[in-house]
Protein backbone atom coordinates (compact mmCIF):
# COMPACT_ATOMS: atom_id res chain seq x y z
CA UNK A 1 0.00 0.00 0.00
CA UNK A 2 1.56 3.24 -1.10
CA UNK A 3 1.02 6.62 0.50
CA UNK A 4 -1.29 7.68 -2.33
CA UNK A 5 -3.61 4.74 -1.59
CA UNK A 6 -4.35 6.17 1.82
CA UNK A 7 -5.34 9.56 0.46
CA UNK A 8 -8.61 10.60 -1.10
CA UNK A 9 -8.30 10.18 -4.89
CA UNK A 10 -9.15 13.84 -5.41
CA UNK A 11 -6.09 14.91 -3.42
CA UNK A 12 -3.81 12.71 -5.48
CA UNK A 13 -5.48 13.81 -8.71
CA UNK A 14 -5.17 17.49 -7.80
CA UNK A 15 -1.45 17.06 -7.09
CA UNK A 16 -0.75 15.39 -10.41
CA UNK A 17 -2.92 17.86 -12.32
CA UNK A 18 -0.99 20.74 -10.77
CA UNK A 19 2.31 19.08 -11.64
CA UNK A 20 1.21 18.43 -15.23
CA UNK A 21 -0.06 21.98 -15.72
CA UNK A 22 3.22 23.34 -14.36
CA UNK A 23 5.28 21.02 -16.56
CA UNK A 24 3.34 21.75 -19.72
CA UNK A 25 3.43 25.50 -19.23
CA UNK A 26 7.06 25.69 -18.06
CA UNK A 27 9.28 27.56 -20.49
CA UNK A 28 12.37 28.37 -18.46
CA UNK A 29 15.20 25.79 -18.76
CA UNK A 30 15.80 25.81 -15.01
CA UNK A 31 12.16 25.02 -14.29
CA UNK A 32 12.06 22.33 -16.98
CA UNK A 33 15.23 20.72 -15.70
CA UNK A 34 14.12 20.68 -12.06
CA UNK A 35 10.73 19.21 -13.02
CA UNK A 36 12.43 16.58 -15.17
CA UNK A 37 14.71 15.54 -12.31
CA UNK A 38 11.70 15.31 -9.98
CA UNK A 39 9.86 13.18 -12.54
CA UNK A 40 12.76 10.74 -12.81
CA UNK A 41 13.15 10.56 -9.03
CA UNK A 42 9.43 9.99 -8.49
CA UNK A 43 9.43 7.20 -11.05
CA UNK A 44 12.51 5.68 -9.45
CA UNK A 45 10.87 5.79 -6.03
CA UNK A 46 7.75 4.15 -7.44
CA UNK A 47 9.15 1.35 -9.58
CA UNK A 48 12.80 1.16 -8.55
CA UNK A 49 16.02 2.46 -10.04
CA UNK A 50 16.65 -0.53 -12.27
CA UNK A 51 13.31 -0.41 -14.05
CA UNK A 52 13.53 3.36 -14.42
CA UNK A 53 16.94 3.07 -16.05
CA UNK A 54 15.53 0.48 -18.44
CA UNK A 55 13.63 3.32 -20.07
CA UNK A 56 16.76 5.31 -20.87
CA UNK A 57 17.30 4.06 -24.46
CA UNK A 58 13.78 4.90 -25.61
CA UNK A 59 13.92 8.22 -23.77
CA UNK A 60 17.17 9.08 -25.55
CA UNK A 61 15.62 8.15 -28.86
CA UNK A 62 12.69 10.45 -28.17
CA UNK A 63 14.98 13.25 -27.05
CA UNK A 64 17.10 12.90 -30.17
CA UNK A 65 14.17 12.84 -32.53
CA UNK A 66 12.53 15.89 -30.94
CA UNK A 67 15.85 17.74 -31.14
CA UNK A 68 16.25 16.76 -34.78
CA UNK A 69 12.70 17.87 -35.57
CA UNK A 70 13.39 21.30 -34.11
CA UNK A 71 16.79 21.58 -35.77
CA UNK A 72 15.48 20.85 -39.22
CA UNK A 73 12.06 22.48 -39.06
CA UNK A 74 12.64 25.67 -37.09
CA UNK A 75 14.98 28.08 -38.83
CA UNK A 76 14.91 30.93 -36.35
CA UNK A 77 17.82 31.95 -34.17
CA UNK A 78 21.02 33.91 -34.54
CA UNK A 79 23.75 31.34 -33.96
CA UNK A 80 23.89 29.52 -37.28
CA UNK A 81 25.63 26.16 -37.20
CA UNK A 82 25.45 25.38 -40.91
CA UNK A 83 23.18 25.64 -43.90
CA UNK A 84 21.10 22.80 -45.27
CA UNK A 85 19.42 23.29 -48.64
CA UNK A 86 19.93 27.00 -48.18
CA UNK A 87 18.11 27.00 -44.82
CA UNK A 88 19.96 27.91 -41.64
CA UNK A 89 20.32 25.27 -38.92
CA UNK A 90 20.62 27.14 -35.64
CA UNK A 91 21.93 26.36 -32.19
CA UNK A 92 18.86 27.94 -30.58
CA UNK A 93 16.52 25.56 -32.38
CA UNK A 94 18.61 22.61 -31.20
CA UNK A 95 18.52 23.76 -27.59
CA UNK A 96 14.80 24.43 -27.80
CA UNK A 97 14.45 20.89 -29.11
CA UNK A 98 16.40 19.38 -26.22
CA UNK A 99 14.22 21.16 -23.68
CA UNK A 100 11.03 20.27 -25.57
CA UNK A 101 12.19 16.68 -25.38
CA UNK A 102 12.75 17.00 -21.64
CA UNK A 103 9.28 18.46 -21.24
CA UNK A 104 7.69 15.58 -23.15
CA UNK A 105 9.67 13.04 -21.15
CA UNK A 106 8.61 14.69 -17.89
CA UNK A 107 4.96 14.63 -18.97
CA UNK A 108 5.21 10.96 -19.91
CA UNK A 109 6.93 10.10 -16.63
CA UNK A 110 4.48 12.08 -14.50
CA UNK A 111 1.55 10.48 -16.34
CA UNK A 112 3.04 7.04 -15.70
CA UNK A 113 3.48 7.93 -12.02
CA UNK A 114 -0.10 9.16 -11.91
CA UNK A 115 -1.52 5.92 -13.29
CA UNK A 116 0.43 4.10 -10.62
CA UNK A 117 -0.68 6.33 -7.77
CA UNK A 118 -4.21 6.47 -9.06
CA UNK A 119 -5.16 3.19 -10.75
CA UNK A 120 -8.21 2.99 -13.00
CA UNK A 121 -10.84 2.25 -10.38
CA UNK A 122 -9.72 5.04 -8.08
CA UNK A 123 -9.54 7.44 -10.99
CA UNK A 124 -13.13 6.55 -11.87
CA UNK A 125 -14.36 7.14 -8.36
CA UNK A 126 -13.39 10.78 -8.91
CA UNK A 127 -16.33 11.57 -11.12
CA UNK A 128 -18.72 9.16 -9.46
CA UNK A 129 -20.36 12.06 -7.70
CA UNK A 130 -20.95 14.53 -10.52
CA UNK A 131 -20.99 12.19 -13.51
CA UNK A 132 -22.52 9.02 -12.03
CA UNK A 133 -23.74 7.56 -15.32
CA UNK A 134 -20.39 8.01 -17.00
CA UNK A 135 -18.62 6.52 -14.00
CA UNK A 136 -21.02 3.56 -14.04
CA UNK A 137 -20.47 3.03 -17.77
CA UNK A 138 -16.69 3.04 -17.39
CA UNK A 139 -16.84 0.81 -14.34
CA UNK A 140 -19.12 -1.69 -16.06
CA UNK A 141 -16.74 -1.79 -19.00
CA UNK A 142 -13.76 -2.24 -16.73
CA UNK A 143 -15.63 -5.18 -15.25
CA UNK A 144 -16.35 -6.62 -18.69
CA UNK A 145 -12.78 -6.39 -20.00
CA UNK A 146 -11.08 -9.14 -17.96
CA UNK A 147 -14.11 -11.41 -18.32
CA UNK A 148 -14.12 -10.80 -22.04
CA UNK A 149 -10.43 -11.54 -22.36
CA UNK A 150 -10.81 -14.85 -20.56
CA UNK A 151 -13.85 -15.72 -22.59
CA UNK A 152 -12.10 -14.75 -25.81
CA UNK A 153 -9.34 -17.21 -25.00
CA UNK A 154 -11.92 -19.93 -24.31
CA UNK A 155 -13.64 -19.25 -27.60
CA UNK A 156 -10.49 -19.24 -29.68
CA UNK A 157 -9.18 -22.37 -27.91
CA UNK A 158 -12.44 -24.19 -28.47
CA UNK A 159 -12.65 -23.19 -32.09
CA UNK A 160 -9.00 -24.01 -32.57
CA UNK A 161 -9.49 -27.47 -31.07
CA UNK A 162 -12.46 -28.07 -33.35
CA UNK A 163 -10.30 -27.12 -36.28
CA UNK A 164 -12.53 -24.24 -37.25
CA UNK A 165 -9.95 -21.49 -37.15
CA UNK A 166 -7.26 -23.23 -39.11
CA UNK A 167 -5.83 -21.81 -42.24
CA UNK A 168 -2.66 -20.07 -43.14
CA UNK A 169 -2.04 -16.62 -44.36
CA UNK A 170 -2.67 -13.25 -42.80
CA UNK A 171 -6.23 -12.93 -44.04
CA UNK A 172 -7.30 -16.30 -42.68
CA UNK A 173 -5.78 -15.63 -39.28
CA UNK A 174 -7.43 -12.24 -39.22
CA UNK A 175 -10.78 -13.69 -40.23
CA UNK A 176 -10.52 -16.34 -37.51
CA UNK A 177 -9.73 -13.74 -34.87
CA UNK A 178 -12.60 -11.54 -35.92
CA UNK A 179 -15.00 -14.47 -35.91
CA UNK A 180 -13.90 -15.19 -32.35
CA UNK A 181 -14.46 -11.55 -31.48
CA UNK A 182 -17.88 -11.66 -33.07
CA UNK A 183 -18.85 -14.77 -31.07
CA UNK A 184 -17.64 -12.97 -27.97
CA UNK A 185 -19.93 -10.08 -28.82
CA UNK A 186 -22.98 -12.34 -29.14
CA UNK A 187 -22.34 -13.95 -25.77
CA UNK A 188 -21.60 -10.77 -23.85
CA UNK A 189 -24.38 -8.67 -25.37
CA UNK A 190 -26.97 -11.21 -24.36
CA UNK A 191 -25.42 -11.57 -20.91
CA UNK A 192 -25.24 -7.81 -20.42
CA UNK A 193 -28.99 -7.53 -20.96
CA UNK A 194 -29.49 -9.88 -18.03
CA UNK A 195 -27.11 -7.79 -16.00
CA UNK A 196 -29.04 -4.64 -16.93
CA UNK A 197 -32.31 -6.30 -15.88
CA UNK A 198 -30.65 -7.22 -12.62
CA UNK A 199 -29.68 -3.61 -12.11
CA UNK A 200 -33.22 -2.46 -12.77
CA UNK A 201 -34.60 -5.06 -10.39
CA UNK A 202 -32.35 -3.67 -7.72
CA UNK A 203 -33.70 -0.18 -8.31
CA UNK A 204 -31.32 1.38 -10.78
CA UNK A 205 -32.66 4.67 -12.08
CA UNK A 206 -35.28 5.11 -9.37
CA UNK A 207 -35.49 8.57 -7.85
CA UNK A 208 -34.12 9.19 -4.39
CA UNK A 209 -31.07 6.97 -4.71
CA UNK A 210 -28.16 7.84 -2.47
CA UNK A 211 -24.50 7.42 -3.05
CA UNK A 212 -22.25 5.06 -1.18
CA UNK A 213 -19.24 6.87 0.25
CA UNK A 214 -16.29 4.55 -0.12
CA UNK A 215 -13.51 7.09 -0.15
CA UNK A 216 -13.34 8.85 3.18
CA UNK A 217 -11.44 12.09 3.57
CA UNK A 218 -8.99 12.42 6.40
CA UNK A 219 -7.08 15.25 8.03
CA UNK A 220 -4.12 14.29 5.87
CA UNK A 221 -6.11 15.20 2.76
CA UNK A 222 -7.03 18.56 4.22
CA UNK A 223 -3.44 19.38 5.14
CA UNK A 224 -2.08 18.34 1.77
CA UNK A 225 -4.78 20.23 -0.12
CA UNK A 226 -4.08 23.43 1.78
CA UNK A 227 -0.37 22.94 1.19
CA UNK A 228 -0.99 22.39 -2.50
CA UNK A 229 -2.97 25.62 -2.82
CA UNK A 230 -0.34 27.58 -0.89
CA UNK A 231 2.42 26.29 -3.19
CA UNK A 232 0.37 26.55 -6.35
CA UNK A 233 -0.28 30.28 -6.05
CA UNK A 234 3.39 31.34 -6.27
CA UNK A 235 4.13 28.53 -8.74
CA UNK A 236 1.49 29.77 -11.17
CA UNK A 237 2.33 33.47 -10.83
CA UNK A 238 4.73 33.53 -13.80
CA UNK A 239 2.07 31.99 -16.01
CA UNK A 240 -0.55 34.52 -14.98
CA UNK A 241 1.68 37.60 -14.93
CA UNK A 242 3.67 36.61 -17.99
CA UNK A 243 6.87 37.51 -16.19
CA UNK A 244 9.97 35.49 -16.80
CA UNK A 245 8.70 33.83 -19.93
CA UNK A 246 11.62 32.18 -21.60
CA UNK A 247 12.31 32.84 -25.24
CA UNK A 248 14.71 30.82 -27.35
CA UNK A 249 14.55 33.26 -30.25
CA UNK A 250 16.49 35.44 -29.51
CA UNK A 251 18.43 33.69 -26.80
CA UNK A 252 19.17 35.90 -23.82
CA UNK A 253 21.84 34.27 -21.72
CA UNK A 254 21.53 36.75 -18.88
CA UNK A 255 18.00 35.45 -18.25
CA UNK A 256 19.28 31.93 -17.63
CA UNK A 257 19.82 32.65 -13.94
CA UNK A 258 16.35 33.30 -12.56
CA UNK A 259 15.81 36.36 -10.40
CA UNK A 260 14.38 36.12 -6.88
CA UNK A 261 10.74 36.16 -8.02
CA UNK A 262 11.31 33.38 -10.52
CA UNK A 263 13.53 31.35 -8.19
CA UNK A 264 10.88 31.36 -5.48
CA UNK A 265 8.20 30.45 -7.99
CA UNK A 266 10.25 27.59 -9.46
CA UNK A 267 11.04 26.40 -5.95
CA UNK A 268 7.33 26.30 -5.13
CA UNK A 269 6.59 24.44 -8.35
CA UNK A 270 9.35 21.91 -7.75
CA UNK A 271 8.19 21.48 -4.16
CA UNK A 272 4.80 20.31 -5.46
CA UNK A 273 6.58 17.65 -7.51
CA UNK A 274 9.03 16.76 -4.73
CA UNK A 275 6.34 16.28 -2.08
CA UNK A 276 5.06 13.01 -3.61
CA UNK A 277 8.66 11.79 -3.86
CA UNK A 278 9.19 12.33 -0.15
CA UNK A 279 5.84 10.86 0.86
CA UNK A 280 6.18 7.80 -1.37
CA UNK A 281 9.88 7.47 -0.72
CA UNK A 282 9.32 7.35 3.01
CA UNK A 283 7.02 4.39 2.55
CA UNK A 284 9.44 2.60 0.26
CA UNK A 285 12.28 3.16 2.67
CA UNK A 286 10.21 1.93 5.58
CA UNK A 287 9.25 -1.16 3.60
CA UNK A 288 12.85 -2.01 2.89
CA UNK A 289 13.92 -1.52 6.49
CA UNK A 290 11.08 -3.60 7.88
CA UNK A 291 11.56 -6.35 5.34
CA UNK A 292 15.26 -6.73 6.01
CA UNK A 293 14.59 -7.25 9.70
CA UNK A 294 12.23 -10.14 9.24
Amino acid sequence: MTYADRLHPLTVFAFYCAILVLTMTATHPVALLSLFVSAVLLRAVQIGVKRTLAGVPIALLLLLSVTAINLFLVHRGAKILFFLNGKPITLEAGLAGVFSGLMILSVILFCACMSRSLPGDRMLSLFKRRLPRLALLLRMTLGFIPRMRTRYREISDARGALGLSRGRGMLNVLRARLTDLSILLTLTLEESMDQADGMRARGYGLPGATRAVTEPRSARDAILSVGLVLLLVPALLPLFTGRGEWNWYPLDRSALVPDLFLSLSFAAGTAIAVLPILLEGKETLKWHILRSRI
Binding site: G97, S100, L178, L181, T188, L189
Partner: protein
Protein backbone atom coordinates in the same frame (compact mmCIF):
# COMPACT_ATOMS: atom_id res chain seq x y z
CA UNK B 1 -32.08 12.34 -12.95
CA UNK B 2 -29.31 14.83 -12.46
CA UNK B 3 -29.98 17.37 -9.77
CA UNK B 4 -29.87 21.11 -10.37
CA UNK B 5 -26.82 21.40 -8.14
CA UNK B 6 -24.89 18.88 -10.20
CA UNK B 7 -25.90 20.59 -13.43
CA UNK B 8 -24.71 23.95 -12.19
CA UNK B 9 -21.48 22.38 -11.00
CA UNK B 10 -20.81 20.71 -14.35
CA UNK B 11 -21.55 23.84 -16.34
CA UNK B 12 -19.35 25.92 -14.06
CA UNK B 13 -16.57 23.34 -14.31
CA UNK B 14 -16.78 23.32 -18.11
CA UNK B 15 -16.89 27.11 -18.19
CA UNK B 16 -13.79 27.45 -16.03
CA UNK B 17 -11.91 24.96 -18.21
CA UNK B 18 -12.87 26.83 -21.38
CA UNK B 19 -11.85 30.17 -19.88
CA UNK B 20 -8.53 28.74 -18.74
CA UNK B 21 -8.01 27.36 -22.22
CA UNK B 22 -8.71 30.76 -23.82
CA UNK B 23 -6.28 32.34 -21.38
CA UNK B 24 -3.56 29.79 -22.22
CA UNK B 25 -4.21 30.34 -25.90
CA UNK B 26 -3.76 34.09 -25.55
CA UNK B 27 -0.58 33.54 -23.56
CA UNK B 28 0.79 31.36 -26.35
CA UNK B 29 0.92 28.28 -24.08
CA UNK B 30 -0.12 25.94 -26.88
CA UNK B 31 1.39 22.86 -25.26
CA UNK B 32 -1.34 22.85 -22.64
CA UNK B 33 -3.96 24.84 -24.55
CA UNK B 34 -4.35 22.35 -27.39
CA UNK B 35 -4.78 19.11 -25.37
CA UNK B 36 -7.14 21.04 -23.09
CA UNK B 37 -9.10 22.21 -26.12
CA UNK B 38 -9.41 18.62 -27.28
CA UNK B 39 -10.71 17.66 -23.84
CA UNK B 40 -13.13 20.60 -23.78
CA UNK B 41 -14.52 19.45 -27.12
CA UNK B 42 -15.36 16.03 -25.65
CA UNK B 43 -17.08 17.58 -22.62
CA UNK B 44 -20.44 18.51 -24.22
CA UNK B 45 -21.05 14.93 -25.34
CA UNK B 46 -20.09 13.57 -21.91
CA UNK B 47 -22.47 16.01 -20.21
CA UNK B 48 -25.33 15.31 -22.62
CA UNK B 49 -24.82 11.59 -22.05
CA UNK B 50 -25.06 12.22 -18.33
CA UNK B 51 -28.25 14.22 -18.57
CA UNK B 52 -30.13 12.08 -21.07
CA UNK B 53 -32.57 9.77 -19.43
CA UNK B 54 -31.86 6.28 -20.69
CA UNK B 55 -32.16 2.84 -19.24
CA UNK B 56 -29.79 0.28 -17.81
CA UNK B 57 -29.98 -1.84 -20.95
CA UNK B 58 -28.70 0.97 -23.17
CA UNK B 59 -25.87 1.54 -20.72
CA UNK B 60 -25.01 -2.15 -20.71
CA UNK B 61 -25.04 -2.31 -24.51
CA UNK B 62 -22.64 0.64 -24.79
CA UNK B 63 -20.42 -0.92 -22.12
CA UNK B 64 -20.23 -4.18 -24.10
CA UNK B 65 -19.35 -2.41 -27.36
CA UNK B 66 -16.65 -0.45 -25.54
CA UNK B 67 -15.38 -3.67 -23.98
CA UNK B 68 -15.18 -5.33 -27.41
CA UNK B 69 -13.19 -2.48 -28.89
CA UNK B 70 -10.82 -2.31 -25.91
CA UNK B 71 -10.27 -6.08 -26.07
CA UNK B 72 -9.76 -5.72 -29.83
CA UNK B 73 -7.16 -3.02 -29.30
CA UNK B 74 -5.32 -5.12 -26.73
CA UNK B 75 -5.61 -8.23 -28.91
CA UNK B 76 -4.07 -6.51 -31.91
CA UNK B 77 -1.50 -4.61 -29.82
CA UNK B 78 1.50 -6.36 -31.46
CA UNK B 79 0.57 -4.90 -34.85
CA UNK B 80 1.12 -1.14 -34.79
CA UNK B 81 -1.62 0.89 -36.43
CA UNK B 82 -3.70 -2.18 -37.19
CA UNK B 83 -6.60 -2.06 -34.73
CA UNK B 84 -10.30 -2.83 -34.99
CA UNK B 85 -11.23 0.06 -32.65
CA UNK B 86 -12.43 2.53 -35.29
CA UNK B 87 -14.44 -0.17 -37.02
CA UNK B 88 -16.21 -1.21 -33.81
CA UNK B 89 -16.86 2.44 -32.92
CA UNK B 90 -18.25 3.18 -36.39
CA UNK B 91 -20.51 0.13 -36.21
CA UNK B 92 -21.71 1.13 -32.74
CA UNK B 93 -22.61 4.55 -34.09
CA UNK B 94 -24.41 3.00 -37.04
CA UNK B 95 -26.36 0.69 -34.72
CA UNK B 96 -27.04 2.77 -31.63
CA UNK B 97 -26.87 6.40 -32.76
CA UNK B 98 -24.49 9.36 -32.44
CA UNK B 99 -24.32 9.65 -28.65
CA UNK B 100 -23.66 5.94 -28.13
CA UNK B 101 -21.06 6.08 -30.90
CA UNK B 102 -19.30 9.01 -29.31
CA UNK B 103 -19.35 7.43 -25.85
CA UNK B 104 -17.97 4.14 -27.16
CA UNK B 105 -15.13 5.92 -28.94
CA UNK B 106 -14.23 8.21 -26.06
CA UNK B 107 -14.52 5.49 -23.42
CA UNK B 108 -12.39 3.11 -25.51
CA UNK B 109 -9.58 5.66 -25.69
CA UNK B 110 -9.77 6.40 -21.98
CA UNK B 111 -9.98 2.78 -20.82
CA UNK B 112 -7.57 1.16 -23.25
CA UNK B 113 -4.96 3.74 -22.29
CA UNK B 114 -5.00 2.23 -18.82
CA UNK B 115 -3.18 -0.61 -20.63
CA UNK B 116 -1.19 1.45 -23.14
CA UNK B 117 -0.32 4.47 -21.00
CA UNK B 118 -2.24 7.64 -20.28
CA UNK B 119 -1.07 11.05 -21.34
CA UNK B 120 -2.14 14.23 -23.06
CA UNK B 121 -2.62 12.15 -26.21
CA UNK B 122 -5.59 10.44 -24.53
CA UNK B 123 -7.63 13.61 -25.05
CA UNK B 124 -6.92 13.57 -28.79
CA UNK B 125 -7.72 9.88 -29.13
CA UNK B 126 -10.96 10.36 -27.19
CA UNK B 127 -11.93 13.19 -29.50
CA UNK B 128 -10.91 11.38 -32.70
CA UNK B 129 -12.71 8.12 -31.95
CA UNK B 130 -15.63 9.92 -30.36
CA UNK B 131 -16.08 12.16 -33.37
CA UNK B 132 -15.98 9.27 -35.81
CA UNK B 133 -18.56 7.40 -33.70
CA UNK B 134 -20.75 10.49 -33.62
CA UNK B 135 -20.45 10.98 -37.36
CA UNK B 136 -21.39 7.36 -38.03
CA UNK B 137 -24.29 7.68 -35.62
CA UNK B 138 -25.83 10.36 -37.81
CA UNK B 139 -26.49 7.60 -40.36
CA UNK B 140 -28.05 5.20 -37.84
CA UNK B 141 -31.57 5.71 -39.18
CA UNK B 142 -30.51 6.28 -42.74
CA UNK B 143 -31.11 3.84 -45.55
CA UNK B 144 -27.46 4.22 -46.45
CA UNK B 145 -26.48 2.36 -43.28
CA UNK B 146 -25.21 -0.74 -45.02
CA UNK B 147 -24.00 1.07 -48.11
CA UNK B 148 -20.43 -0.10 -48.76
CA UNK B 149 -19.49 3.34 -50.07
CA UNK B 150 -20.57 4.99 -46.82
CA UNK B 151 -18.59 2.43 -44.81
CA UNK B 152 -15.55 3.03 -46.98
CA UNK B 153 -15.89 6.77 -46.49
CA UNK B 154 -16.32 6.47 -42.71
CA UNK B 155 -13.32 4.15 -42.44
CA UNK B 156 -11.11 6.57 -44.38
CA UNK B 157 -12.38 9.58 -42.43
CA UNK B 158 -11.77 7.70 -39.20
CA UNK B 159 -8.16 6.97 -40.13
CA UNK B 160 -7.49 10.49 -41.38
CA UNK B 161 -9.06 12.14 -38.34
CA UNK B 162 -7.06 9.96 -35.96
CA UNK B 163 -3.82 10.89 -37.70
CA UNK B 164 -4.67 14.57 -37.98
CA UNK B 165 -5.50 14.87 -34.29
CA UNK B 166 -2.65 12.79 -32.87
CA UNK B 167 -0.16 14.61 -35.11
CA UNK B 168 -1.49 17.86 -33.73
CA UNK B 169 -0.28 16.71 -30.32
CA UNK B 170 3.10 15.57 -31.72
CA UNK B 171 3.59 18.95 -33.39
CA UNK B 172 2.73 21.05 -30.40
CA UNK B 173 4.64 18.82 -28.00
CA UNK B 174 7.80 18.82 -30.09
CA UNK B 175 7.93 22.45 -31.18
CA UNK B 176 5.75 24.24 -28.62
CA UNK B 177 3.99 26.09 -31.41
CA UNK B 178 1.54 25.30 -34.15
CA UNK B 179 4.08 25.79 -36.91
CA UNK B 180 2.21 24.86 -40.13
CA UNK B 181 5.43 23.60 -41.71
CA UNK B 182 6.06 21.26 -38.78
CA UNK B 183 2.45 20.01 -38.74
CA UNK B 184 2.63 19.39 -42.47
CA UNK B 185 5.89 17.51 -42.09
CA UNK B 186 4.36 15.28 -39.44
CA UNK B 187 1.30 14.67 -41.56
CA UNK B 188 3.39 13.78 -44.59
CA UNK B 189 5.85 11.61 -42.67
CA UNK B 190 2.92 9.91 -40.96
CA UNK B 191 1.21 9.25 -44.27
CA UNK B 192 2.10 5.53 -44.35
CA UNK B 193 0.48 5.19 -40.92
CA UNK B 194 -2.57 7.19 -41.95
CA UNK B 195 -2.88 4.91 -44.94
CA UNK B 196 -2.52 1.87 -42.72
CA UNK B 197 -5.23 3.20 -40.36
CA UNK B 198 -7.58 3.84 -43.25
CA UNK B 199 -6.92 0.52 -44.96
CA UNK B 200 -7.23 -1.45 -41.74
CA UNK B 201 -10.45 0.38 -40.85
CA UNK B 202 -11.93 -0.47 -44.21
CA UNK B 203 -10.72 -4.08 -43.96
CA UNK B 204 -12.16 -4.49 -40.47
CA UNK B 205 -15.42 -2.86 -41.55
CA UNK B 206 -15.58 -5.20 -44.51
CA UNK B 207 -15.25 -8.23 -42.25
CA UNK B 208 -17.24 -7.00 -39.23
CA UNK B 209 -20.17 -5.03 -40.61
CA UNK B 210 -22.42 -7.93 -41.46
CA UNK B 211 -22.00 -9.95 -38.25
CA UNK B 212 -22.04 -6.96 -35.88
CA UNK B 213 -24.98 -5.13 -37.42
CA UNK B 214 -26.95 -8.36 -37.48
CA UNK B 215 -26.37 -8.85 -33.77
CA UNK B 216 -27.07 -5.28 -32.74
CA UNK B 217 -30.20 -5.11 -34.90
CA UNK B 218 -31.48 -8.28 -33.30
CA UNK B 219 -30.72 -6.89 -29.85
CA UNK B 220 -32.48 -3.62 -30.61
CA UNK B 221 -35.53 -5.46 -31.83
CA UNK B 222 -35.65 -7.99 -29.04
CA UNK B 223 -35.18 -5.57 -26.16
CA UNK B 224 -36.46 -2.34 -27.71
CA UNK B 225 -33.14 -0.58 -27.24
CA UNK B 226 -32.42 2.94 -28.46
CA UNK B 227 -35.91 3.17 -29.91
Amino acid sequence: MTSVKTRVFLLAFGGVLVLFDVFLWLRGQYRLAIPLLAFCLTLPALIVFEWRRSGARELAAIAVMTGISVVGRVLFAPLPGFKPVSAVVILTGLSFGPLAGFMTGAATALLSNFFFGQGPWTAFQMLAWGAVGFLSGLFARSRLRRNPLLLLLLGVIGGALFSALTDLWTTVAATGTLLPAAYLTFLVSGLPFTLLYAVSNVLFLLLLTRPILRKTDRLKQKYGLFA
